[in-house]
Symmetry: C2
Subunit: 377 residues, 2 copies
Amino acid sequence: MDRAGWNTPALLIDEQRFERNLARLNRRLARLGAPLRPHLKTVKNVELARRMLAGHPGGATVSTLAEADHFFAAGIDDLLYAVGIAPGKLEAAARRIADGVHLTLILDHPDAARAVAGAAQRLDTNFRVLLEVDADGHRAGFRPDDPVLLESARILANGGATPAGVMVHAGGSYACRDRECLVRMAQRERDGAVAAAGALRAAGFEAPVVSVGSTPTAMFAQDLTGVTEVRAGVYAFMDLVMAGLGVCELDDIAVSVLTEVIGHRREHGQVLVDAGWMSLSRDRGTADQAIDRGYGVVCDETGQVLSPEVIVSATNQEHGILARRDGESLKLHDFPIGRRLRILPNHACATAGQFEHLWLADPEGRPVRKLERCRGW
Amino acid sequence: MDRAGWNTPALLIDEQRFERNLARLNRRLARLGAPLRPHLKTVKNVELARRMLAGHPGGATVSTLAEADHFFAAGIDDLLYAVGIAPGKLEAAARRIADGVHLTLILDHPDAARAVAGAAQRLDTNFRVLLEVDADGHRAGFRPDDPVLLESARILANGGATPAGVMVHAGGSYACRDRECLVRMAQRERDGAVAAAGALRAAGFEAPVVSVGSTPTAMFAQDLTGVTEVRAGVYAFMDLVMAGLGVCELDDIAVSVLTEVIGHRREHGQVLVDAGWMSLSRDRGTADQAIDRGYGVVCDETGQVLSPEVIVSATNQEHGILARRDGESLKLHDFPIGRRLRILPNHACATAGQFEHLWLADPEGRPVRKLERCRGW
């Protein structure tokens, strides 16, 4: 590696924007009276996680057991593992609980509840479980009024596990096109969670936890009555998908990939850089939005957008091609070989997920401090 | 982690298929009289690299300086770094050369040649450089008859660097739809390289290296007269894009992601697994082929394709959704919660790139030996 240990491509985090993003959601949730359980799958770093957790005593959310280990080793011990538990991971989960992790699992199928109940007895472990509820048909979850929800809670309780409440993720909010849709999705997420918790309580379960969230719904919720925690992760970095949804502006995006010009495609008026899909990821989350940003928006080295028209239009493993969205030629003399640029990514989690390290950047965009990220499963 | 240290999702390599794939390309190239310089960006692992290099004394190809370090540490010291050199990486490259790496760079712009010549003098390093030539308008490279090619060679030579020949990558071959196109692309790649080397030689340069390659062209070349080395990487693992091109069959694909069923989408006849885009990658390389395979084809735990119709139709970070391509419902009782499956990926490099480790699998598909992969830049 070069210079102070960095090299291109590098993952940069603009600290000022990061802190501003945290403050914004914190203010919103304080107003709504709902605590945050930040999702750490976006940052995957202990120092940034601690900043997200500041003022929120309710623990964090993770997407892998590797993240659980990473953050538990740093003293973050209250962790919701928010992916439907695979029966093959129950022994590993029991070991974490024995080690002192206050681990909560989720599931949405009675057979998964049977697997947890069986493992609870076999491994003598009191698994704490949230029942995943579907409010928008996006991915997973019981319908709030599905009798199988109650059946699964009973299977857990009878097996010596603890059905501790419900969780909803309105991932469908990512497909919204306007503010009204986001407000409606947030309401639906809250209503589904509260209804399902109500059904559990009516059936005699305590169900203390009513967990909702996604960055778009967290940013647009108008009423969180009955919700005990809100999960969000992308809000810390923001990205082009969030900007396309109207959840943030381009200059709120705290995450970018530092790259360098390595060539010109003269006859196409295009520029080659050393950031390909291995660093940017293959995520094309803006492809279905009103403005397709290709693989990202190009900024100068300090993080100023050159023009919203200048994007990464194509990628190979370690090559990116810069082009104008309108098909006009770039002025190649503005992109001399060796010029450093930054790329704002479509999807913060996907792009950051390509890196083992991130760099905190100074206001001029220079990488100044290297932080480790959790990887793997 | 669980069991013998593995967990889902895990990257599995079928050793028999891997060895069969190596033997196939080796036989072809032996017949054509061209040595292989395998591209290690696909396997990113020392043991598999050594098997690819067996019988080929001409060194290897890498896509990052991190790969160069990784393989040099294991004694693989003749390395072509096949991405246009970023001027900001020349000091790092010079350090590798001083350490004993027989490193070759590439470039395709006279300003890059000036940067290399300047660094050669400043750092007292004899950089060995191939001039990248464009045979198909795919990405980068001088046109074979472009006077700037000769100008760049002169800039290098005058600056004390060594223009050692030419390299061509016919990446356009990935867009072929039939055998004739692949044969034509291979011919064009060879002809462009030989023509450019001829131009250099006519201008007084020795240009001993004439390097061509991509997996599709390596597998379909009919004549490699004048070529001194062939580069290929994907051929070792193969993938759905290669199967879609007619370069291999589904049962040649040696790479897969082991996953577990975690839920059902009952009303959609779909199945949730614990392999999302964080493990499969966001690559959608089959989207533009005759058969769109979604995010991958589903196999049983031993690697037998369930049906070419059953694919991963959508992904989130740690969730995959299995569905039938024809929109019919899956028989959910065939996918009990906890069932293990394997996913054949669209693009071997992209999917393997998501993992820090790979597992060699036994014939029943059980992960038996864990190998480290190179990561980062």
